[in-house]
Symmetry: C2
Subunit: 878 residues, 2 copies
């Protein structure tokens, strides 16, 4: 059972691949492997049983039954630990605690700032210093800390999670270091009082938690190693992240689905709901236990009247909020991207900022906090309120303005901040909206862990409030004509505005649900839904969502969505977008062809066809496999082998004809010897760990067993060392072992000659990992269907075949191009209306594509090397 | 442009298949086809343009520009009509109107019953007669009407929609007749006051609306013919159905997703939200316009207090409701299935009921209405309340009971029904729950259009009310200890109970959202979520959902879900469940092999491999294709052809040697002649309409053009007639045309001999539709992944290959068996805990499987014959 660990790893790896991979002809290997696995499983259970029996024997005198019971209980518990719901409860609990602690720390930070600011009210300059220095220090610390510990923790996290759930592996993205950096960085960043949110980061933190918990739990059971399960758990974790951030389980699940998934498995639905509900529950219970609340209620509870929440004639106003929010949301995304691109393009600024990485955050914080300084400009925009306080006041169910002028409404608590002796409440609101808008767009570009959802939410609420107050001023007695007077509730408008603007920025409908859960009231459901849908309709036709925009900025591998009902997609065919010049290798090609193919192209996988004439697709081979094949064929170990062989032949010849000039003679006979070797040598597996099938070559080609030390012995190659160890005891190897110390005495010319000869040999694919069922499409498959399949199965390329014959290949790149509208078919330029506005953001598509390829490369090389790939280190033909 | 219509049809068909189908080697055909299509598209646009130009010429004198403008506007409008949102708005509007009209009619029916009952209060017997006769007549009419017009309209519709969205085509399920039957049947059934719901039927009605609207709209534009688009629209329609039924857009979308989908495309999300919101909006606006409501509010508005909705210590009570509802829900599903199976098994009853189809509904109605007769037993179970009234009273925010005894609570309106002078309110509630429980389970088996959601919802509310009243009686001053007294709100418990029980029966979490939208309050979100999740956990481990249960009863083709975290699924491999004895045909087989394969197996598709030795999978061919190939080879037209040929040869021989004994001589030379013919004859396409590629055989084999009348002229074969017409003018056919009237003068023995000879010929697959890329798996693919792929892509079988070599096949049947636990792997019997309880319902799995195959057969034969398949009528080898 020595190879158990590697078996486990190999097993796990194989489960991640859809099509598996087999190295031997006719699937014999797979069957053996399956039989072996089952056998080992039986053996394990037998050994378990025997251990129990041993215990029984050992403790016969004492309370043996008790012992056995304990063992069984332990086993039962461990098997239970493997169940999903335990994992989800733990995840929910953990995230609720994290969320609560983060909130608590943020509150303390903000209180500290207020306290400092309040304590220094004798001197405005000192007050200003305190007001400004505090956030600058916090943000700078956050940026620095994140930069040093884990730069992956910067930003929202939702774009990255979207990419990860698409099947891409992002390096270092789900590690403990990132977790620490994200949590501490986020706390400091939000504690500074800058207009930043915690939602996006919490999605990331929850995913980190899930990944770490998964790793931890795998110490107990084995199921946690399954990749598809991990993806399912990550999807649930995203829901938990949103859920425990807003105490909004339903909205959390829906928002996380909308934001991270393309296709959602309904069977995962309950996982999200379960974990998010538990998390939200614990999160709110903690507040009750901490005596912050009397019982579990909504986070931003509203108290609108229930019997007549709004009049039917107010609906146009709600629709206006929706449409305006749509434009606003698109503008926000555009502004955010513009700032990033501006800073990137200005080489001078860029170079300067790159050197002093902490300067940019500090400068931005300085600017923002200076403008919000309450005795300064802040007095006109409720600058002294924190984000939470402003939201609470904005959702207030009292009307601030009546008859067009700001009246003496009974300012209770924080609402006072909105009142300015000289300035109308409308002016305050407008200033608040405008200033916060660009401040938020700017602040979210700071390299700290932060989200944009909450700032946008507050701006939306303010905008809704503005419209609501205007309506209240316009119709002081309400619109309803007959009977009772129902005054207009501006707070309801604020709710609608918040949902609409955040929906527009994130391109989601579920912000409506989040709003209901946040406010604890669902009475405005229809206005909210109408506004959110209108906002989405407008924003989606103008700009990508904020997360997609970040994906583009960060150049993550992505596949754009098919837009709102662009039915031209049904008319484009794969044949219109496929690459017809496919790189392929034939079954009977020689190593020289392999070499040429590897030199000229840079695709990750190559098609394997039967012959250049028939072009029947047999499978696909990864580039790394071919490289290892080639390097195996040309590598030093094999050359040493050749020299040794030559020496042996020489010796034999010497012993027969007693001719001492070995050097020249051996070269003369080398050809016959070489061919003799090569037919057997190439059965050596360059990649597969030997533990998995140590005796397979022996079964197939008995001659190998007779000459086992012909297998090369490169020091890096653990598997071959293992093999050597395995065979060491074999008696017939001893006679040859003294040849191990042959010198590499070939000249460069000789080596070149030798390599030339090697290149002419036919490739032996026996031990090469071939994906026997790469995904195939036919020419007539529509773009719509292709997109669906690519999204569903997370493909990055598919071959186009016609009755088994390879005629083209489609990769994500072509698909993306086609969707984004650079392909014209039947005279129709396929692009969304108003897309020209969007072009400015996607000009550098060529760069993106190469970046994409790099990322894929990384992805591939990261998901592969669970198996030992020794030959990659000494590749020659990269 | 004569073949345009059939082109369109063929195009449409091709879009429905994922992998397309090509009849000629090496994809040449596809390229030609694509080129041809594009050309015709260009031609069309050219002709459009020329038409415009014609107009320009024609109207030069008059307001030509005006005309052109009109044409353009018209075109623009027509193209707009094709956009999704227009369709969705129309669908929403239509469904809102239907929902409102149905509700209105139901209300009138119920009022009429009350009026009759109230008017006859002098005589109890007359009262009873009126109370009982009215529903019996209505239900009998509904059952009869549905039976006569469209039996497909019976029942809920959700199970069928689930099957349809899975990709199966159910016959006659989305027709106008079904629409009429469903709407009228549903109105009558619900107007009778029986415990039935309108939710399920509304999902079906909305889908019907969408399908009909799609057909109607396709008169304007061409996009409505796309199958994937139709599926998307059907998914949106399901959301609309729930949304406009409860005025619950969000809950509607979520519920429809949970109930009908396995994998949900997030890009369809907005469609559902958009249409459902619009529909719910119109539905509620109609109520306002009808002066039923002052403004748009929830359907069953509650008025619970907002500031302290529930105490933390009440949560255990809510959890108890959840768990009890879970058991209750499972019991309901079990009871429902038991009743159906009992009636089916009792042969005597069954035969009697089959003869008098309307007797069963009448009897059930009589029983139920007798028991609810208000002066009789109905007085103990609030029998005189309609479903809607009971729900309103149950959700009331006042407490009915205090200190353990029913107090004189101020009975306003319908609440009085719950009060009985002698009997405690608890007894009334218990009786209500128990009686309604079995009544609902029984009533939903009546063959009328009806759902079970609403009855279950009411029962759940009553159960919640019962627990709530008990709690209120137990803690008269509330549980909260410090400070203010917050009495317990039993109405909140009713909300929780309603959501939990309906969630348990349907296995959905989104009933929580529906409840919030129905009541207009979200304050109880955490209790509701906790109860719903617990109820789901319990119910899902005991029984399938009501809809899955109906799917099993109706034996619809389905794929069971993977249960709650049964991680054994990750350890089963395809190789454990696949069928290794695959039926295949080789590329070089003869017709005899084909014949044998068709005789012995009954699979829908057969694998095409290169040869029996290599077993390289080239594609799959449908059974019907092979049958038509075979019948073509052995059919009468071809035999007549042979006779004609023979006669011609005879004539020639006569003209040369002048020997009169033709009969014997022709038989002697028949062999040579036959072979000469057969090589050319077999290029004739048996299935493909000739309009698609009339000249293809000519291009490939010039000899055919020289002898065009050799093509058989069976009267049913339109395509060959068309071909004949095409070639009729050709001069070299005239000399042979007098042979058209040859007599079928072969004896049976001769025919048998001839057929034997034909069977030995090699099959020519040239004109056979081959799916060149059937879905392939490898042996190591896990069951979990296989299930995912099958669900995602809607497959019904997949081939298992190993480097292109076919080694097995997996179909839905095997997959279902594996999931339902009849396969044991590694000693673990894969089945959910407590599954033994479930077994009683699935004993007849073998019957199901055969039924399934029949359904698939039907599905296949329905989705195929968009193309003309003349040879199916004269098949010999079925």
């Amino acid at each position: 059972m020595a190879g158990d660990g590697s078996d486990q790893r190999a097993l796990q790896y194989e489960q991640t691949l859809m099509y598996g991979r087999y190295t031997q002809e006719l699937g014999v290997y797979a069957k053996e492997e399956a039989a072996r696995l089952r056998e080992s499983g039986q053996r394990r259970s037998v050994s378990d049983r025997s251990r129990t029996l041993d215990l029984l024997e050992y403790d016969k005198g004492r309370c043996a039954k008790c012992r056995i019971c304990t063992v069984r209980c332990q086993k039962f518990l461990i098997s239970r630990v493997g169940e999903d719901w335990i994992f989800l409860i733990l995840l929910g609990l953990l995230m609720a605690l994290v969320s609560w602690v983060v909130d608590f720390c943020i509150a303390i930070c903000l209180q500290a700032q207020k306290w400092m600011y309040g304590g220094l009210d004798s001197n405005v300059f000192l007050q200003y210093l305190a007001w400004v220095t505090y956030p600058v220090v916090l943000i700078t610390f956050s940026a620095g800390f994140t930069q040093i510990l884990a730069p992956q923790a910067v930003g929202s996290g939702i774009p990255e999670m979207k990419t990860i759930l698409r099947g891409v592996v992002l390096k270092e993205y789900l590690t403990f270091k990132t977790f620490v950096a994200k949590v501490i960085g986020l706390t400091c960043a939000l504690g500074s009082g800058m207009p930043l949110g915690k939602e996006g980061p919490f999605v990331h933190i929850a995913s980190l938690c899930a990944a770490l918990l998964s790793k931890f739990m795998s110490l107990f059971g084995g199921i946690y190693e399954n990749e598809s399960r991990n993806i399912e758990m990550l999807a649930a974790a995203c829901a938990v992240g949103v859920g425990c951030c807003f105490a909004a389980p339903i909205g959390g699940v829906l928002f996380s689905i909308e934001v991270t998934s393309t296709f959602f498995a309904v069977r995962n639905y309950w996982r999200g709901f379960f974990a998010a509900t538990f998390s939200a529950f614990i999160f709110r219970v903690l507040a009750v236990w901490n005596r912050d609340e009397e019982t579990i209620t909504a986070l931003f509870k509203t108290r609108f009247r229930l019997d007549f929440p709004f009049d039917l004639q107010e609906l146009p106003a709600f629709a206006v909020i929706g449409i305006a929010s749509g434009f606003g949301g698109a503008l926000f995304v555009y502004l955010n991207r513009l700032i990033v691109q501006f800073i990137r393009k200005q080489k001078a600024i860029n170079r300067f900022l790159m050197k002093k990485r902490l300067l940019y955050p500090a400068l931005v914080t300085l600017l923002v906090s200076t403008l919000t300084f309450p005795p300064g400009f802040g007095q006109f925009m409720a600058g002294k309120l924190t984000q939470k306080e402003s939201l609470v006041t904005l959702l207030d169910n009292r009307t601030w303005a009546k008859q067009g002028i700001a009246e003496e409404f009974d300012y209770i608590g924080h609402s006072q901040a909105w009142k300015h002796p000289q300035v109308n409440v409308f002016v305050t609101l407008v200033l608040f909206i405008v200033m916060k808008f660009w401040m938020s767009a700017l602040a979210t570009t700071i390299p700290v862990p932060c989200g944009a959802f909450m700032p946008v939410f507050v701006i939306g609420a303010a905008f809704g409030r503005l419209v609501g107050e205007s309506m209240a001023a316009w119709f002081p007695d309400g619109i309803h004509t007959d009977g009772t007077i129902y005054p207009i509730v501006p707070g309801g408008y604020a709710v609608v505005g918040a949902a609409a603007l955040s929906g527009a920025v994130t391109h989601t409908v579920s912000t409506a649900v989040i709003v209901f859960e946040l406010t604890g009231q669902i009475s405005h459901i229809l206005p909210v839904m109408i506004a959110v849908i209108l906002a989405n309709a407008v924003a989606q036709s103008l700009q990508p969502s904020l997360y997609d925009s970040i994906i583009r900025i960060k150049k993550l591998p992505y596949l754009p969505e098919l837009g709102w009902g662009h039915h031209e997609k049904y008319n484009i065919r794969v044949e219109d977008i496929m690459v017809r010049d496919v790189r392929y290798i034939t079954l009977n090609c020689c190593y020289r062809d392999l070499h040429n193919v590897l030199l000229t192209g840079h695709l990750k996988t190559l098609a394997l066809v039967e012959s250049a004439e028939s072009m029947i697709l047999l499978g696909s081979i990864e580039r790394a496999q071919l490289q290892s094949l080639l390097s195996q064929q040309l590598g030093r170990p094999r050359r040493l082998e050749y020299i040794r062989e030559r020496a042996v032949a020489e010796k034999k010849r010497l012993s027969v004809v007693s001719n001492p000039d070995s050097e020249d003679g051996s070269q003369r006979v080398s050809q016959e010897v070489r061919f003799q070797i090569s037919t057997e040598e190439s059965t050596f597996s360059p990649v597969r760990p030997v533990a998995q099938k140590p005796l397979k070559p022996a079964l197939k080609r008995p001659s190998v067993v007779e000459r086992p030390t012909e297998i090369p012995t490169s020091p890096q190659d653990n598997s071959s060392i293992a093999l050597k160890n395995l065979f060491c005891a074999s008696p017939d190897t001893e006679g040859l072992e003294d040849d191990g110390d042959v010198e590499d005495d070939m000249t460069i010319r000789e080596i070149a000659e030798w390599e030339e000869m090697q290149l002419d040999e036919q490739v032996n694919f026996n031990n090469c990992k071939i994906d026997p069922a790469p995904f195939q499409l036919v020419e007539r498959t529509s773009l719509h269907k292709t997109h669906t399949i690519f999204s569903l199965l997370g493909l990055d390329h598919a071959y186009v075949t016609s009755i088994g014959r390879l005629i083209g290949v489609v990769s994500l790149k072509e698909l993306r191009k086609a969707i984004e509208g650079s392909v014209t078919v039947k005279g129709v330029k396929v692009r969304p209306p108003l897309a020209s506005f969007r072009d400015s953001g996607t000009s550098s598509s060529e760069n993106e594509a190469t970046e994409l390829h790099k990322l894929w490369d990384r992805h591939k090389s990261m998901s592969l090397p669970r198996e030992h790939t020794p030959s990659e280190s000494d590749e020659k033909s990269q």
